[in-house]
């Protein structure tokens, strides 16, 4: 028998393949797994919702941090002016 013919036969070896029956207890196993997993199962919508809330929180935090930073910068400006004045007051030279 030639090589080509044998390879063709191998390729056709799944012809008339029979459907295999399942383990009869498989459905009970599935039900049990569903019951056990129900409490921890998260739908995709819930995952997206929690992810967007997380991003929103980070965004809010960033805004607050930037605002606080700006306010503290402003405060620093005024205190430095005050420092300058006080410095002048304290260390001014009188002739």
């Amino acid at each position: 028998m030639s090589k080509e013919n044998t390879i063709e036969e191998i390729l056709e070896s799944t012809k008339d393949i029979k459907k295999v029956d399942l383990n009869p207890y498989l459905f009970n196993k599935i039900l049990l797994k569903i019951k056990l997993n129900k409490d921890i199962f998260l739908s995709t919508n819930l995952i997206w919702l929690s992810f967007s809330i997380y991003i929103l929180l980070i965004f809010c935090n960033l805004i607050i941090i930037i605002k606080i930073d700006k306010i503290s910068n402003k405060n620093e400006d005024t205190t430095s002016k005050y420092d300058l004045i006080s410095h002048n007051i304290n260390y001014q030279i009188y002739y």
Partner: protein, 186 residues
């Protein structure tokens, strides 16, 4: 879990479980793995049935879930094998996760068993789309239109994939041909 959803999943299971299990067997070449993935498929169906929008038939939808689950399972197993290979470099006592056994499909005719072992070995080496199309066509016995619907591809694309899969299988079978001849002589 209420009784209504319970009976729904039971109906779906009774109608499609054989198809799911046999498709898993075609992909995974292991009865234990096929049973595990079949369970995962129906758990996924149970949780996602509300997302099914009748754009395709229920059978097509379940086929897609099964294919994805099988491919994910193969990917995870390969990752695990890579990890075990890495560990075995440092510890020679570790056993390999994949034993590389010859898979004898329980549904194959007796006279074709030896040949099908070689075929299943060669199928394992195919790229995922070619593998899927070949399994759906030659093992599941679906026509090109049905395969196209499942994979969301045109009929000509499916034909092309089957043709490429056959070419690749012929190449890998011709490489293993000598091994097969030796067995035949014995």
């Amino acid at each position: 879990m209420n009784s209504h959803s319970n009976s729904n999943i039971e109906l779906i299971y009774n109608e499609h479980s054989k198809m799911v299990y046999n498709l898993c067997l075609g992909y995974l070449h292991s009865i234990e793995d096929a049973e595990e993935v079949t369970q995962d498929v129906f758990i996924k169906v149970y949780h996602s049935i509300s997302e099914f929008k009748n754009k395709s038939s229920l059978k097509t939808w379940i086929y897609r879930i099964t294919i994805n689950k099988c491919l994910d399972f193969i990917k995870a197993k390969k990752r695990l094998k890579r990890m075990s290979d890495m560990v075995s470099i440092f510890n020679s006592k570790n056993e390999l996760i994949h034993s590389g056994k010859n898979f004898e499909h329980p549904g194959i005719l007796l006279e074709n068993k030896e040949k099908s072992i070689l075929l299943f070995k060669a199928i394992e080496l195919l790229p995922k789309y070619q593998k899927t199309v070949f399994i759906l066509s030659k093992i599941e016995g679906l026509n090109n239109k049905e395969i196209g619907e499942i994979l969301e591809k045109s009929i000509s694309a499916v034909e092309n994939l089957i043709h490429r899969a056959k070419d690749n299988l012929k190449i890998s079978l011709s490489i293993n041909f000598k091994e097969y001849q030796k067995k035949e002589i014995k």
